[in-house]
Amino acid sequence: MRVQAMKTQAMRFQKQIIAFSCALALVGCAIQPPAETAAAIDREQLQIDPEVNYFVAVTELLSQRIAQPGGEALLQIQYAVEARSNGDLAWKVTWFDPNGMVVKGVGEGYRKVSLLTGQTRYFTATAPHARVTDYQLHLREPQQ
């Protein structure tokens, strides 16, 4: 009788373990690893091509939100470059909304500027929409 009772208890315990394992397996299936979103990818705000680094140093990169009469605020950036030698520079700002999606501006082209040795120049750009929260500034050397 005692042996029978022990066997029944062991079987009940076994069933409990199986049920617990199944429950764990189901929970494991339900919880998926979070999908990688654009916001999760680390994006550098300042991207400088190596050729530009030879003759230019970015001495400042500032950003602020400028209040608008309607109550919104627009992101504005300002950067300064100091030229070590004469040369041409091309720059472009890409704007992003809180989800990391690109917000279109007027055009996609680079703005070209010429720099003289020792000259420090300041450039500003204003976001095309109030929903812009992030940006990427790209500096490169024009090919021609």
């Binding site: 400028i66 608008q68 009469p69 309607g70 109550g71 919104e72 627009l74 504005q76 279109k104 501006g105 007027v106 055009g107 996609e108 082209g109 703005r111 500003t124 750009a125 204003t126 976001a127 095309p128 929409h129 109030a130 024009p142 090919q143 021609q144």
Partner: protein, 200 residues
Amino acid sequence: MFKLPIVFCVSMLMLAGCATPTRYIDPAADDGPVTMTMDYRDFEKAATEAVDDMLASGAVSKPNGERYIMVVSRVTNDTMQRIDTDQLTKKIRVALLRSGKVVTTTAVGLDGAEDEMSARARELRDSEEFDQSNVQRKGTLKAPDLSLSGKILQRNHKAGKEQQVEYYIQLSLTDLVTGLATWEVETPIIKRGPNESVSW
């Protein structure tokens, strides 16, 4: 006897092989040569600077958060080139519309409405041929608050063995309530190149 035509054919084939192939240009990555005339890059530069400045100034932000209604007035082409100034104004209009701050009316214009359909669609009023439920009613068109006008100037100079061509893109935004220009900008585009190149 056949020597001459063969030489001619071979030469033509060689020349055709040397010709630059026609290709697409991506405006986002165009490092092509600069022209003495105004090209799309100049319009893009001027429009970018204008919209940047316009947005930053707050001149196109209505205090109650609503959108301003803008009309495109006259943009005079005072250059030696045949320029369609819509190349400039369209970029500005598109960017302002995307900003959510300004919408442009096509129902009025200096030389008539840009889109005459707003008026034509109203001619259907009282026509028995049309279901009147969605025919536009009286007093629904919106009058503009702001007017965009401007001028593109060109000045040519001799600079040593080169020529210098100066373009000035001037734009004004007028508040139609007061008649005051609430925003203005001038974008100079200066080009220097060989005397042989033409700027018209």
